[in-house]
């Protein structure tokens, strides 16, 4: 068991050990261990509010954990200085949930931004790289548009082009499929796969759409109640019969994950006498 564990850890680009986080008094992670293998597409799934985005923020050093180790390419993120963190981030692409495009810049300038800030490339080369990435997401023709002129799905694809413009070793996608029409969804799924296979990039996807995850992810981690509730290939999880996986992938309201936020008795809230129990 320990040999298997060591073998997995050796090939992992991201290793999380004993991660514990509490936000606003709520326990988000309670000592979780997690390995993201190199060159693979790993999906992080789980009910809303279970800390999927928080995990991405830990991996990129935007948020520090209460306890635990997060190693990215061998470097323990919580212990890095700001300069070391910036060095690491130069090798990471991040797709934000709300795209986070720079609103003063055109689509072209948004995608060119990381190149202009870090590399002194000839303008011709910058132009070629940016147009190549925009072509990959199907928006080369929108290069001169401003972010305010884009639909939500288009903005997401521009943000994707910006995330991949420097061919990073690791890309983190936070809800990449929201707002995409079926055509764009297919293209983005294909792009994520192609990037992984041709450039050897490691990808971490946070998403709720299991049908899409099933088509692209190599393995899935299901987070619930501060723990890793299940992990394996999408097929393994689809056929898993633990109460967590059955409820989450079956979309059932009854199960270990409550649909309702903790509240007082419904009748009392409506002003009726409390029901006798």
């Amino acid at each position: 068991m320990s040999q298997t564990r060591q073998a997995v850890a050796g090939s992992a680009l991201v290793e999380v050990r004993g991660l514990s986080t509490t936000l606003n008094g709520k326990i988000i992670f309670d000592g979780i261990d997690l390995d993201i293998p190199r060159g693979k597409i790993s999906a992080i799934m789980g009910p809303s509010g279970t800390g999927k985005t928080t995990l991405l923020r830990h991996i990129t050093g935007q948020l520090m954990p209460d306890k635990g180790e997060i190693r990215v390419d061998g470097r323990n993120v919580p212990k890095l200085s700001r300069n070391e963190l910036f060095d690491l981030r130069e090798k990471i692409g991040f797709l934000f949930q709300n795209s986070a495009l720079l609103t003063d810049f055109s689509v072209f300038e948004n995608v060119a931004f990381p190149l202009r800030q870090h590399l002194k490339l000839p303008e011709e080369l910058v132009r070629n790289i940016v147009l190549t990435k925009l072509q990959a997401v199907g928006l080369r023709g929108a290069a001169e548009l401003m972010p305010s002129e884009l639909s939500g799905g288009m903005a997401r694809r521009v943000a994707l082009a910006r995330a991949i413009v420097r061919d990073p070793m690791l890309i983190l996608y936070d809800e990449p499929f929201v707002g995409l029409d079926p055509i764009a969804l297919n293209q983005v799924l294909r792009l994520i796969r192609v990037l992984n296979d041709t450039l050897g990039i490691t990808s971490i996807l946070v998403a709720h759409e299991f049908s899409a995850i099933r088509r692209v992810a190599d393995n899935v981690h299901l987070i619930a109640a501060g723990k890793i509730a299940a992990h394996g290939s999408p097929e393994e999880l689809a056929n898993d019969d633990s109460p967590w996986t059955k409820q989450f992938f079956g979309g059932e309201s009854d199960g270990p994950v409550p649909f309702h936020y903790p509240a007082r008795d419904y009748a009392v809230d409506l002003g009726f006498p409390a029901a006798a129990t």
Binding site: F86, R89, F96, A100, L101, T103, H118
Partner: protein
């Protein structure tokens, strides 16, 4: 309440240190600094010129009336220019600057925070302190004295318009009394120092408020209001302190 205010002042002080530390790195983004100087300086010209003209005209009218009681209308140019160079130019420009440029800086940075643009820069290994905060801070220091000079020029022009053109004061007396009484170092340059200090204070408050605003529409609204209120109070208080030291 007092504890919160002191904590805010402390946080603002640490933020200033952060900006000062980021200035060398921000020189890599010199184009952004120039863009911000254009934005907070050139784009504020209309309001500064208009207000400068009217302030000068009002000064001309009021002082002509007061000086005429003592038969001293010949000193109109001197009094107007000293009032503008030493006090009104830097102070009124700073208050207008806080209302025009300070609020827009706060709202812009606040919205950048609310829409994760600052976080996106961090993720692209671009330091927002060097790319967003420091250029706006430097722009405030550069633009304010220039705007105060424009304000003074338009103010003197307004006073000349009222005193000489309308009320019949001698043109030569107006200018010669002014040039003989105003000292470049004691009056004009001291005013420029004040403008630089006010520019730094207003820009610091505006950037700090935007940077630390809660990422909500209400948070941005409150932050812009706080920029104007805090800037006005600090500018007036600092004016007294600087006047006491520069006299």
């Amino acid at each position: 309440m007092i504890g919160d205010s002191l904590a805010q002042v402390g946080a603002c002080g640490l933020f200033l240190l952060g900006i000062l530390a980021a200035i060398p790195k921000s020189l890599r983004h010199i184009k952004e600094t120039i863009r911000q100087i254009w934005f907070v300086g050139a784009m504020s010209l209309v309001i500064i010129m208009t207000c400068g003209l009217f302030v000068g005209m009002v000064l001309g009218l009021q002082l002509y009336y007061v000086l005429s009681i003592f038969g001293g209308t010949a000193a109109l140019g001197t009094v107007v220019s000293l009032a503008l160079y030493r006090e009104l130019g830097p102070v009124v420009t700073a208050l207008l600057f806080a209302g025009r440029a300070g609020t827009s800086i706060t709202a812009e940075i606040g919205l950048m925070r609310a829409t994760d643009q600052l976080a996106a820069m961090e993720m692209m290994a671009v330091d927002p302190m060097a790319y967003v905060a420091a250029p706006r801070f430097l722009a405030g220091i550069v633009a304010m004295p220039l705007l105060a000079c424009v304000f003074n020029a338009l103010g003197i022009f307004g006073a000349h318009l009222v005193g000489v053109t309308w009320l019949g004061l001698d043109n030569g007396t107006f200018w010669s009394n002014m040039t003989s009484s105003v000292d470049v170092w004691k009056d004009v340059v001291n005013g420029v120092w004040k403008s630089c200090a006010f520019g730094a204070v207003v820009a610091l408050i505006a950037v700090f408020q935007g940077y630390t605003t809660p990422p909500t529409s209400e948070g941005v609204a409150y932050a812009t209001t706080r920029t104007v209120v805090f800037s006005s109070i600090v500018v007036l208080a600092l004016d007294f302190v600087m006047t006491a030291f520069l006299m």
